[in-house]
């Protein structure tokens, strides 16, 4: 797998767009999920991912080896940062929090029973609201750590920050998310509450 990826990277560096597209097809779901959780809505996340992939192709000659996934996630998180800045400059009417998850998680792809799906949907909505309250730096760290499962070293590389900063941001982000969930615990389905 790694060798195959390396060969595709080499082709992409020489301007082979097809090779680059094969490369990103393996990571587009991860990239989209990161962008969606950081930005909180489908439209901005789609734009950010597309923008990031275009930038990645233009900058692939700068890729100096290591994990392509981490390198790509760095570009995606930067695109999210730019999108957040742009949305601050040109504020738009946000979609209702209830609408965001329904829009992005179609029922057809879900195979669990409707009751479980609805409960998980409620949970996702509340967790997303908690993440939305965080500043960008903490959002990026918690999304990469807890939703994408990256370790501290990978996060440090993806965000270009020291290891100690990763730890302190993650610690603060988790504590804030916990506080938010505790404050809104009654909105969670009973099986997800701290004391059911």
């Amino acid at each position: 797998m790694f060798e195959e990826e390396k060969a595709l990277v080499e082709k992409a560096r020489q301007g082979d767009l097809a090779a680059f597209n094969s490369l990103i097809s393996a990571y587009q779901n991860i990239a989209y999920n990161v962008a969606f959780r950081i930005l909180g809505n489908h439209y901005d996340a789609s734009d950010a991912v597309q923008e990031a992939f275009i930038k990645a192709f233009r900058a692939i000659h700068k890729f100096k080896g290591g994990s392509f996934k981490v390198w790509l996630l760095r570009i995606v998180t930067n695109a999210c940062k730019d999108a957040l800045r742009a949305s601050k400059r040109k504020p738009t009417v946000p979609l209702s929090p209830q609408g965001r998850e329904l829009e992005s998680v179609p029922f057809s792809v879900n195979e669990e029973n409707p009751e479980n799906y609805a409960e998980r949907h409620e949970l996702a909505r509340l967790v997303q609201e908690a993440i939305d309250t965080l500043p960008f730096d903490q959002k990026a760290v918690i999304v990469l750590a807890d939703l994408e499962g990256l370790d501290y070293f990978e996060i440090s590389e993806a965000l270009g920050i020291p290891l100690g900063t990763v730890k302190s941001r993650l610690s603060r982000a988790r504590a804030k998310v916990r506080d938010y969930l505790l404050a809104h615990e009654e909105l969670l389905p009973s099986r997800y509450r701290l004391k059911p």
């Binding site: 767009l17 680059f20 597209n21 990103i24 097809s25 587009q28 779901n29 990239a31 989209y32 999920n33 969606f36 489908h42 789609s46 991912v49 597309q50 992939f53 275009i54 192709f57 233009r58 400059r89 998850e101 992005s104 998680v105 179609p106 792809v109 879900n110 998980r120 949907h121 949970l123 996702a124 967790v127 997303q128 908690a130 918690i142 750590a145 807890d146 939703l147 370790d151 501290y152 070293f153 730890k167 302190s168 993650l170 610690s171 603060r172 988790r174 504590a175 998310v177 916990r178 969930l181 505790l182 969670l188 997800y192 701290l194």
Partner: protein, 202 residues
């Protein structure tokens, strides 16, 4: 009861479950948790929140994000942006050149009488005349060399005495192109603002 150590552990607690945490830090937390009920409760709530965060479903990408050749064509910036940027650079360069020339002229110029104190006015002479002094009379024409010195120094009135050499510290910067410098400076600022506004609109 635990003071600083308690605070340190409390800051580390949200990371307790992570594999990336160092073994020393994990050991420190474990030892503290055995004896601190407050931190035990804190860890319980954190563990609950972290597990809920990790449980939320992944969202499928709504479409493919493959890059097409058309996506790689650069979006052309408005012509006005290029014009404003060029004008900014030009005006800024002109401003710097003019200021630079003034500074060079100041450095290279000999000590001039520009900063010489003004000659005593006739009014002062009239107000405090010395009784025994002779009435003011035009001085005898100075030698040609002295006249040249005074003219070079910008003195206009012949009757004033030849000024003493001016110390270097009293030299003044003569901004010969001041109106142009002001125009170039303001032009650069205005064009810079225009480029910034046009750049933001893209």
């Amino acid at each position: 009861m635990f003071g600083k150590k308690h605070q340190k552990i409390k800051a580390l607690l949200p990371l307790y479950g992570d594999k990336s945490l160092s073994s020393e830090e994990r050991k420190l937390i474990e030892e503290h948790l055995r004896v601190c009920q407050e931190c035990q409760a804190e860890w319980e709530s954190l563990r609950w929140a972290i597990s809920l965060t990790r449980e939320i479903p992944r969202v499928p990408a709504p479409r493919s994000f493959v890059v097409r050749a058309a996506d790689l064509e650069k979006v052309r910036a408005p012509v006005g942006l290029y014009v404003a940027r060029a004008f900014t650079a030009l005006a800024a360069a002109l401003f710097i050149i003019l200021i630079g020339l003034d500074l060079l002229a100041f450095k290279a110029a000999p000590i001039r009488a520009l900063a010489t104190p003004l000659p005593p006015t006739p009014a002062i002479v009239r107000t405090y005349p010395e009784p025994e002094q002779k009435p003011l009379a035009l001085p005898v024409s100075p030698p040609e060399e002295e006249v040249m010195t005074r003219e070079f120094g910008g003195l206009e009135e012949a009757p004033t005495p030849i000024p003493a050499p001016v110390p270097e510290a009293e030299r003044r910067l003569n901004l010969r192109w001041l109106p142009w410098e002001i125009a170039a400076g303001f032009g650069a600022i205005a064009a810079g603002l225009a480029s910034w506004i046009l750049g933001r609109r893209r």
